[in-house]
């Protein structure tokens, strides 16, 4: 397990306006928790994804990149998500070539009603990234590392710290109860 703190990790989540961003909104409405490393960036369509921009994000220290678009066949702009998938594959090749793990970027597809799945994918992406450890480019990018400060490592299953895989997920009803 890595010693990277969840508070330190930065995962950029490019999310399309019509589906993924709305699904993330719904995850909030349903009070489904997921790791706090996720930083959502809204784009009109994942088709807008630019390989160079993603590489810049890695270059400056992103630990992971999550690209979330509509379900395949359901793209609001017909085929943007298919183009995004292709570009994500391309980024995987390119970062592998410079020594980064290809698992640092993944493409996900969901509909706007799939709030739960958004949370699941956020968990999956965070765990996957955490298992790789901090991006080796972080130090190079000059980002101050405060590893170990403020919070447990992700692997130590701290109570209620967002470590909620699908199996331990709270149901909305249970959550409402808790609120009360």
């Amino acid at each position: 397990m890595s010693d990277m703190s969840q508070a330190e990790m930065q995962i950029v989540a490019y999310s399309c306006h019509y589906c993924a961003y709305a699904a993330a909104d719904l995850a909030g409405v349903l009070r489904l928790s997921y790791p706090a490393a996720i930083r959502i960036v809204e784009v009109p369509c994942t088709g807008r994804l630019d390989v160079l921009e993603v590489l810049h994000a890695f270059e400056h220290g992103a630990d992971g990149v999550m690209v979330a678009g509509c379900l395949e066949g359901d793209c609001h702009f017909q085929a943007g998500n298919l183009n995004a998938r292709r570009r994500v594959a391309r980024v995987k090749e390119l970062i592998t070539a410079v020594g980064l793990e290809p698992e640092r970027i993944e493409m996900f597809n969901l509909s706007s009603a799939m709030g739960r799945q958004f949370a699941d994918y956020a968990v999956k992406m965070t765990q996957q990234t955490a298992s790789l450890g901090p991006s080796p480019l972080r130090a190079a990018s000059g980002r101050v590392s405060r590893t170990g400060a403020g919070g447990d490592g992700l692997g130590t299953r701290r109570e209620g710290s967002g470590d909620v895989g699908p199996s331990t997920q709270k149901t909305p009803a249970a959550h409402q109860e808790r609120q009360r």
Binding site: C19, A24, D25, S33, E53, A62, C70, M114, R116, Q179
Partner: protein, 1520 residues
């Protein structure tokens, strides 16, 4: 096209009833065309049934994804007035000028104030079935219909005032505190009791509780122990220490004197001091409390308990002066009190019964007796005591006498004990203490000796009452029943009365108004006065509230009379209703909780309290017995929780009238109420669910989070059966609901996708996969997903009690199950199958609810035989009332796209009526001129929202704002309680001006819901709306990281930093006007083309109608017979219609008809097309137009299948129809052979010919049956045999099938593996058709005189060429492909081009007409404007960087980028890409692909996105 008498002038507004997808589409179309729209919805949010769906067939698109942009557009449209919680009562007037009366139902939450935070629902104690989730989950009485609801506001579900509250004189919200007790929230319960009643401790013990007398629970078992529950709360509050009551600040200068410290006086003092007045209470006795103190013995109301209530009142700041009798209240006014309230209540003066011997020693009045005891004064009492007179005071006196040591105590009641306001157990307790209670007995004389009491003479009470000489009513005595009893003390109970005898002379005439309680003396108010008899404490409290309100009005200088106000209705249930709920399992009978009591031996030895109250467990169980009659309990928890003061429990319904030119009815359907049909077991067997319930389970945001679970045990089912045609095609619903086959297929696919191991069976009669893409979807369900379809009819459904499984018994039509079975040679039998399933899904059909039917009757709209809305032949959305239109399933069961088509079609019809009034009642938002900020350095304002506690409870918003204030370019940062509230948006505008801000960041919730609101705020402050960036720190942060506030705060800072970085790079976006060519090109002169052209021309838009043939009419020329709407109605005449249509089109001056003409070239874009038309002899001309409508139709297939063309007695459907029309004596179309129908003994019809094996041609079944019935009618002896796969007479076309079965047509099913074989000898020899008996499996040979082939409709020749010309897509079968199969059925993805009729897919005439009107309506959205706004967030090429590599041209899904040879690219070389701003969709797909980075997507420029992302990795600031 019925001719309407139109009002003149017409009103340019439309009322649309129903906020489902049809109502929304109609509203949007009309609002965009320049009409004001009132969209009326009876629920608390729009969205209708579609919002409940998970996916939609046949594309499995997410329903919510597709509907939510429509929801937002509808909710925010400037010209749509959204009226939720509203019903239409009446429509008066005529087409063009209607007056509609609306009823707005109270929502109890003001949607204009509500910010949708949900704090009210979080504290609401009332749990109700969630109807949106079809009862599969519970929700609170304060609720939002669904997460994405529009308006984004909560509502409270309240039936009215609960009977308990209604019965209480003081209006105590009993249901409220009971609900809170049920949740264990005792402090809040105490708080709500105190809202209405400052004497909770007293009323928890001594109230006469009329609430319990009216408790609905009494109708089925026993009333809820409401008083005991109140006491429980008080005891709890006392036991754990009451919260300290804070004194109320004086905010008003006036001072009020209250005379009397009883319940009325102290209540008045309490209310007045809370209003901010100064209050002094004068009490004659040394102690406060009045009769509560001196009239009630301590064993019933302990003095400390009473004192607690009084102390709470005094703690508010009330001044109490005891031993202060007042005899001249005028003096108080003179001394400076601004008002005086006399609340002296029951007089201390003793009254007498008028009995002989009443003056003797040893006789004492009960009131005096109790007062002395309660004041601690000595009272002598003997050992044998008689209490005479009756009443609750008598009981108290008797109990006290016993406690003082009397050995024998007898109470003589002049009435039966049941008439006393005491429980039977109270009476029993009294008797247990050794007190004798005799009923129907009255004292007639007090026996005395030496001036002392020695006994009492009693007699039995007779019937009736008599009035004595002093006017008192006395019971009559039954003669001869006298008996006497030796006693030494008699306690006399006399009716007590309030009076004003303590006042000085000069007040003899003093009276008060019974309503306002004001007296003749200004400023003097009198409670009680001289006339009122002894009242109950709770009534005195009510009077106290009333006099306080009256004094307040007096001091405010307002009229004393309370203004008339509508009050919410009281809820009343009948015994039958409640008994039904008991039978349905909604209510479980249970006995009332009984309070524990002090042991008898301990009672009589002192004054310890007898009743001990409920235990915690008892109280919570008792609270759960409450039936929640009012639904909302009015506990006011939401009022305390709401941070924006949006909740008003006093709202009442109100009426409103609106003036409109037309009305569109889209009230939608209800699913068949299957629980009313016992045989399906719905409601009885938990594992029987409706398809709509399954839909909610499948929905990712539904109650099970997308998992299909058995309701009985929550386990995933392994075998699921769908029962088709539940509430369709049966005796009570003799129509087909048209959607069930496909939604069952969809749900089956989804179940299999979710858990591939689940077996899914669909038990059906026919699969009606009749529309575009449906057959392929059905094939995929069977072949790819392994969904099993079984033709069957269910004969029984029962539950296996062991495991909750359901056992189905059905008759299987074995020949049609699988093809393997058919290839077998063994004859098959009709088999009866019994099979067990874990879950049974009822595919419920559509019906019109009784409410909608009655609404239709109120509006004077005819309904048809099925109870659906009757519409006019060949004018499909026109109801029986001119100017009123019906759309969606209200007129026939239908699916989403047909409903959307109806909606646009009706909008088109309305537009033709109201065109003269276009743009008269609409308006555009006006904003100040935008400041040019392009050259300025960024000056950012950051506004961080608390969202009440939604963000602030988990994120340190102050810290976030502090950090934000030190970010680059930020000149102002602050935090706001609710950023979206009206005062906050005004503040943001103010700050923009104050600080000269040129960019704004709002850190709050989602831009999807609130972006437009803050953009509007920027525009009002003179900033371009695109200079806003939002950080979603609620949905993406506080709500998901509530378990770790530190982390949430850190992330919120990151999100704000990103938004700030993005905002600094933002630049204004402008939309530019482009002129619109206000003319249309309609291609195709059939029914679709002509109707589209007319709908446009009648609004005054010029139309070029292009027809390839030499005459107008298209396929309609071949249609001789119309389809009857139902079995009983007349079939309309299509040829007469065609003649009228052609003459109308020809006469219409705005339509230019181009016959024998084709479109050979078109260029341009939406609003500005130029097309080249080629007429006869190659003559060409160019026309300009803003829109294009494709209505090129289809044609009947003419392939050689089944020997077509080889034999004169093989006809197509169209040929057969022509033959029928010519009475069978005319030649068939092509062969030239004469057919004499009179000599035809047998006709065989084969359905699904040629291409129809691949896709369903939709119309053939109905047309075949229509013609077969004609034949049967003309030649009854002819036998007609229909060879078919499925009979797809969807909707009301089912009546043809029913009639055909009645008329004796024979239906023989075949399937793909056993197609009929036709032997057609050359010449005119005998036809021979071989097929197989589907039931017996044996071969059949038929030798008919005539074979009619249901030749399907195929795409028109030339479609492909036209598609290329217009650059619009075709689907795989050659039909034109619409932009979105569900929600954009008449639009092409290419803007400005629309389609209608059989060019889209085979259609019946009515469907074609309405689709043509719909296409015209969509086109009018463009033509109604002088100019269109173009630009916005679209892609832009920088030609200086473009190398003209064609990458963008190839990747764009919309084919927008083009290489312009006249534009210079990189290095000045000619040929750079150009993206036409009017048609760019703004997805940005080209940006990511352009190798030269020559394209930018405005508002998502490289710089903007990169700064946003990279700001994450800058060293972060911390707060100082």
């Amino acid at each position: 096209m019925i001719s309407e008498r139109l009002a003149d002038p017409v009103t340019g507004a439309v009322l649309v009833l129903g906020g489902g997808i049809a109502g929304m589409q109609a509203s949007l179309d009309l609002a965009e065309q320049g009409f004001r729209v009132y969209l009326v919805e009876s629920k608390s949010a729009i969205g209708g049934h579609m919002a409940q769906l998970d996916k939609t067939f046949p594309t499995n698109d997410c329903a919510m994804c597709t509907i939510s942009p429509k929801l937002v557009d509808t909710g925010r449209h400037h010209n749509i007035s959204l009226m939720v919680d509203t019903e239409v009562l009446e429509v008066e007037g005529q087409a063009g000028d209607f007056t509609v009366t609306l009823r707005h139902k109270p929502r109890y939450i003001d949607p204009t104030k509500c910010v949708g935070c949900g704090d009210c629902a979080a504290v609401c104690p009332v749990s109700l079935p969630d109807h949106f989730n079809e009862g599969l989950a519970q929700r609170r009485a304060a609720y939002k219909l669904y997460p994405q609801a529009v308006p984004n506001a909560y509502a409270i579900e309240k039936l009215g005032v609960a009977p308990c509250r209604n019965a209480c004189p003081a209006g105590q919200r009993s249901q409220g505190y009971i609900a809170l007790i049920g949740e264990g929230r005792y402090r809040e319960a105490f708080r709500v009791i105190k809202e209405d009643n400052p004497f909770p401790s007293v009323c928890g013990r001594t109230c006469h509780h009329p609430c319990e007398g009216h408790c609905a629970r009494a109708l089925i078992d026993e009333p809820v122990s409401i008083m005991a529950l109140k006491r429980f709360v008080v005891d709890f509050a006392l036991a754990y220490g009451r919260e300290k009551v804070e004194s109320v600040a004086r905010t008003r200068p006036e001072w009020i004197a209250v005379v009397g410290s009883g319940p009325a006086g102290l209540t008045a003092a309490h209310d007045l001091v809370k209003l901010g007045y100064g209050v002094t209470v004068f009490e004659a006795l040394p102690v406060p409390g009045g009769m509560m103190r001196v009239g009630i013995p301590a064993h019933r109301l302990p003095k400390g308990v009473l004192q607690q209530d009084i102390d709470d009142i005094l703690a508010l700041g009330v001044v109490l002066k005891t031993n202060s009798p007042i005899s001249d209240p005028r003096k108080l006014l003179e001394e400076g009190f601004n008002a005086v309230c006399l609340a002296t209540g029951i007089s201390a003066r003793d009254h007498s019964l008028g009995l002989e011997g009443e003056e003797a020693e040893g006789v004492i009045s009960a009131a005096t007796f109790l007062r002395k005891i309660n004041l601690g004064q000595p009272v002598a009492i003997g050992s044998r005591v008689a209490v005479v007179g009756g009443g609750i005071t008598a009981l108290d006196a008797a109990a006290v006498a016993r406690r003082l040591g009397a050995e024998e105590v007898i109470v003589a009641l002049d009435r039966p004990r049941g008439e006393l306001p005491a429980y039977s157990w109270e009476m029993e307790a009294l008797e247990a203490e050794g007190i004798r209670v005799v009923e129907h007995t009255t004292a007639t004389r007090i026996v005395t000796g030496d001036g002392r009491v020695t006994g009492v003479e009693f007699a039995r009470v007779g019937k009736g009452m008599l009035t004595d000489e002093r006017g008192r009513r006395r019971p009559t005595v039954e003669p001869g029943t006298q008996s006497s009893l030796e006693v030494d003390t008699v306690i006399v109970t006399v009716g007590q009365q309030s009076d004003l005898c303590f006042l000085d002379a000069g007040y003899d005439e003093l009276t008060s108004d019974p309503q306002t309680l004001s007296s003749q003396i200004p400023g003097l108010f009198v409670v009680g006065g001289r006339k009122t008899g002894a009242s109950f404490i709770i009534e005195a409290i009510a009077l106290g509230h009333r006099v306080a309100a009256s004094i307040h009005r007096y001091l405010q200088g307002k009229p004393l009379e309370e203004p008339e106000r509508l009050r919410p209705p009281a809820v009343k249930f009948s015994r039958e209703e409640l008994q039904q709920r008991v039978r349905d399992g909604g209510i479980t009978l249970s006995p009332r909780a009984e309070t524990a009591m002090l042991p008898t031996q301990e009672r009589v030895t002192g004054f310890r309290e007898v009743v001990l109250g409920l235990t915690d467990r008892q109280a919570r169980a008792e609270a759960k017995r409450c039936l929640q009659c009012g639904l909302c309990s009015e506990c006011l928890a939401c009022v305390y929780a709401c941070g924006v003061d949006a909740i008003d429990h006093e709202m009442v319904e109100c009426l409103e009238q609106v003036h409109v030119g037309s009305v569109i009815l889209a009230p939608g359907y209800q699913v068949f109420q299957a629980e009313l049909s016992q045989e399906y077991g719905l409601g009885r067997y938990p594992n029987v669910v409706t398809s709509l319930q399954l839909e909610r389970m499948l929905s990712a945001s539904g109650p099970t989070g997308g998992q299909v679970l058995r309701p009985s045990d929550g386990c995933p089912p392994r075998r699921v059966a769908f029962l088709q045609c539940v509430g369709s095609r049966d005796q009570s619903h003799d129509y087909c609901s048209a959607v069930c086959c496909m939604y069952a297929t969809k749900e089956a696919i989804l179940v299999r996708e979710h858990s591939p191991n689940t077996e899914v069976h669909i038990l059906m009669m026919d699969v009606r996969a009749f529309s575009k893409g449906y057959q392929a979807y059905y094939d995929r369900a069977r072949e790819k997903y392994g969904v099993r379809y079984t033709r069957s009819r269910i004969s029984a459904l029962k539950e296996d009690p062991e495991n909750g499984n359901l056992i189905l018994r059905y008759v299987r039509d074995s020949a049609s199950t699988t093809s393997e079975q058919l290839s077998h040679t063994i004859p098959h039998q009709i088999s009866i199958v019994e099979d067990s399933f874990d879950l049974v899904v009822l595919s419920v059909g559509m019906e019109i609810s009784p409410q909608v039917r009655s609404m239709a009757r109120d509006l004077g709209i005819l309904l048809d035989d099925y109870g659906f809305c009757h519409t006019v032949a060949f004018d499909p959305v026109q109801t029986s009332r001119p100017g009123v239109f019906a759309i969606g399933p209200f007129r026939e069961p239908k699916d989403i796209p047909e409903s959307v088509i109806d909606a646009s079609g009706a909008a088109g019809r309305v537009a033709t009526l109201l065109a003269p009034a276009r743009d008269t009642l609409t308006s555009a938002p006006t904003y100040p001129a935008e400041r040019a900020v392009g050259h300025e350095t960024p000056r950012l304002g950051v506004f961080v929202c608390h969202c009440g506690s939604n963000i602030a409870a988990y994120v340190d918003v102050e810290d976030v704002a502090a950090v934000a204030s030190r970010l680059p370019d930020v000149v102002h940062a602050e935090h706001l309680l609710y950023a979206c509230s009206q005062d906050s948006t005004a503040l943001i505008q103010q700050r923009i001006t104050e600080h000269d801000l040129n960019r704004v960041v709002v850190a709050s919730c989602s831009p999807l819901t609130h972006g437009p609101l803050f953009q509007d705020c920027l525009q009002k402050a003179g900033l371009n709306p695109h200079l806003l960036a939002m950080a979603n720190i609620r949905n993406h942060c506080s709500w998901v990281h509530s378990d770790d506030p530190d982390l949430a705060t850190k992330k919120a800072k990151d999100l704000v930093r990103m938004a700030v970085a993005r905002a600094s790079a933002l630049s204004p976006l402008f939309k530019l006007p482009a002129p619109v060519r206000r003319a249309a090109l309609v291609i195709g002169g059939g029914a679709a083309g002509m109707n589209a052209a007319l709908t446009l021309a009648e609004q005054g838009f010029p139309v070029h109608l292009v027809e390839r043939e030499h005459q107008l009419g298209g396929n309609l020329r071949h249609v001789r017979y119309g389809l009857p709407r139902s079995g009983n109605s007349e079939a309309p005449d299509p040829q007469a219609y065609l003649a009228v249509l052609i003459s109308t089109v020809t006469a219409q001056p705005e339509i230019e008809v181009h016959l024998a003409t084709e479109v050979v070239r078109t260029r341009g874009f939406v609003g500005n097309f130029t097309s080249r038309l080629r007429g006869e002899a190659g003559a060409e001309r160019e026309v300009t137009h803003g829109v294009t409508i494709v209505a090129t139709g289809g044609e009947e297939y003419r392939g050689p299948d089944y020997g077509y063309g080889s034999h004169p007695r093989i006809l197509s459907l169209q040929e057969f129809e022509a033959c029928l029309a010519a009475e069978g004596t005319r030649a068939s179309a092509d062969s030239g052979t004469w057919i004499d129908l009179a000599g035809v003994r047998q006709v065989v019809m084969i359905q699904c010919v040629g291409p129809a094996e691949e896709y369903c041609s939709r119309i053939c079944c109905a047309l075949a049956l229509k013609n077969a019935l004609r034949m049967k009618q003309a030649h009854p002896a002819t036998q007609i045999i229909v060879l078919h796969r499925d009979i797809r007479t969807y909707g009301f076309k089912e009546s043809l099938y029913r009639q055909a079965l009645r008329e004796g047509l024979l239906f023989v099913r075949y399937d793909d593996a056993s197609r009929p074989i036709v032997e057609a000898p050359t010449g005119d020899g005998g036809l021979r058709i071989r097929t197989r008996d589907p039931i017996l499996g044996t071969p059949i040979t038929l030798e008919p005189d005539l074979l009619v082939l249901a030749m399907p409709m195929v795409p028109a020749r030339g479609n492909r060429a036209l598609a290329t010309t217009l650059k619009v897509p075709l689907d795989q079968n050659g039909w034109f492909l619409e932009a979105h199969v569900k929600l954009r059925p008449v639009d092409f993805a290419n803007d400005g081009i629309f389609l209608a009729g059989a060019a889209h897919y085979p259609k019946l005439l009515d469907e074609t007409i309405v689709q043509a009107q719909a296409a015209a309506s969509r086109a009018s959205v463009i033509l109604a404007k002088d100019s269109m706004s173009i630009g916005g967030a679209i892609a832009q090429v920088n030609p200086d960087l473009c190398v003209g590599c064609l990458t963008c041209v190839r990747i764009c899904p919309f084919g927008v980028p083009q290489i312009q040879t006249e534009t210079a690219g990189v290095g000045g070389l000619m040929g750079a890409a150009y993206i036409e701003p009017t048609i760019c969709q703004g997805c940005g797909t080209c940006i990511g692909e352009c190798p030269a980075q020559a394209i930018e997507l405005l508002h998502y420029r490289h710089e903007q996105l990169e700064r946003q992302v990279l700001s994450l990795f800058e060293p972060c600031l911390t707060s100082r």
